[in-house]
């Protein structure tokens, strides 16, 4: 086989493998109910300081049973997603666009989530835009999350075109693919019983501001801080 043929072979293999990797947007998981991974309590603060806009999230599982799925799957991941409302045709302009700059979390193996594979639509000036922009810091090793401890995620973000807006929170469980890889590129959401909206857009929770929720922690309730 000539060098040229060898190069072409590697080239084709690269494309095939790359496309397979890129198209794997979710993975199959064992069954779970919402009370086995959604935090019992959570709080979100969205605001701005002298440098940029930012989002802080707190989350808390009150007992080990509330995180049973996370704790019994060694390759589990968890993402407390925050989505900014950006439906321009309905008058919505996102307050935050994408994570940028400083970020921190005390979740195990934290990572800044990518907007890779999020659905773009053609917006103003022919630029592709997201109707909902995700700003998330997730955990690539959720099996190590402990109950009865308040966890925090914080990240700065680039500003959207809105001076205010709506935000929703959702709790997403997932798995490492391949197992033991804990970066954003290896965390895939589960294909079932996923994405429970702990604060939905329907609440019209306006940011900047602060809101907290209880999720089936005796009751499900949402209120301002």
């Amino acid at each position: 086989m000539s060098n040229f043929m060898r190069v072409m072979f590697v080239l084709c293999a690269t494309f095939v493998l790359g496309m397979q990797n890129a198209s794997a947007s979710s993975v199959s998981c064992t069954n779970a109910t919402d009370t086995q991974f959604v935090p019992s309590w959570g709080r979100v603060e969205v605001g701005t300081d002298q440098y940029s806009r930012y989002i802080i999230q707190y989350m808390y599982w009150d007992k080990i049973q509330r995180m049973q799925w996370l704790g019994t799957n060694g390759d589990s991941t968890f993402e407390p997603d925050a989505w900014f409302y950006n439906y321009g045709d309905q008058g919505g302009l996102a307050y935050g666009l994408a994570p940028a700059g400083y970020w921190y979390s005390d979740l195990p193996a934290p990572y800044v989530d990518t907007q890779f594979e999020d659905q773009f639509t053609v917006g103003l000036n022919q630029y592709l835009e997201l109707n909902e922009t995700a700003v998330t810091v997730g955990s690539g090793w959720a099996v190590l999350i402990n109950p009865a401890k308040v966890y925090i995620t914080v990240t700065r973000m680039t500003s959207g075109r809105g001076s205010s807006g709506w935000v929703k929170l959702s709790a997403q469980r997932g798995r490492q693919v391949p197992a033991t890889c804990m970066t954003t590129w290896c965390s895939f959401g589960c294909d079932t019983n996923n994405n429970y909206q702990t604060i939905p857009f329907a609440d019209h929770f306006t940011i900047p501001g602060c809101q907290q929720y209880n999720w089936l922690w005796d009751i499900t309730v949402r209120r301002t801080c």
């Binding site: 440098y51 922690w217 009751i219």
Partner: protein, 187 residues
């Protein structure tokens, strides 16, 4: 991990192609073959550059001209691959212009290199592992410089973004008062 793997794989393929192009140019091979190789090289280089010119630590939408590949911004990889054929024309036009610019740029560089080496009576042989390694190192250097440049532009464009966000002072206390408030509601 996957990203790094693909970037390295791409760079190896690019180095192979670069050597092949220069061999063909030195041997005064068919123009059609050279053109085809340069187009394949430019396409791969453009696709590859989408990975190494954006700051994956801080996600997308930071530095438009750099994050989506040299030299023109486009959103090829941010559109789901399974629907890439439905991508708006602006994506493809930007992509093809990027490929054309890269083909002209790199075609010129390879031509000058091949001519220069031939004048010095240096012949790149098909099994020339030394030149392959040299080319690979050059591409890796280009990638590293691009990463730093895109990072520098981000820091310049968004000053202060690296500063920590001030957290509530009582955060370090596990019995955080907000949880306490929730408990009150629960009770």
């Amino acid at each position: 991990m996957f990203t790094l793997f693909f970037i390295i794989l791409f760079l190896i393929v690019l180095a192979f192609l670069a050597i092949k192009i220069m061999q063909t140019l030195q041997a005064r091979g068919s123009v059609l073959k050279v053109l085809m190789l340069i187009i394949v090289f430019a396409t791969l280089f453009t696709v590859s550059s989408t990975s190494w010119t954006r700051d994956t630590t801080y996600n997308v939408a930071i530095v438009k001209p750099l994050e989506y590949g040299w030299p023109i911004s486009f959103y090829f990889l941010d559109h789901p691959m399974k629907e890439v054929w439905q991508a708006p024309m602006v994506v493809w036009s930007n992509f093809f212009v990027s490929v054309s610019i890269n083909a002209s740029l790199w075609g010129g560089i390879f031509f000058l290199l091949a001519v220069s080496l031939r004048k010095r009576k240096v012949v790149i042989k098909p099994s020339s592992f030394k030149y392959f390694l040299m080319t690979l190192v050059i591409f890796i250097l280009i990638m590293i410089v691009s990463i730093f440049v895109s990072k520098a532009i981000r820091v310049w464009k968004y000053p202060g973004m690296e500063n920590p966000v001030t957290l509530p002072v009582n955060f370090s206390n596990p019995s955080y008062d907000a949880v306490q408030n929730s408990t009150n509601i629960k009770l």
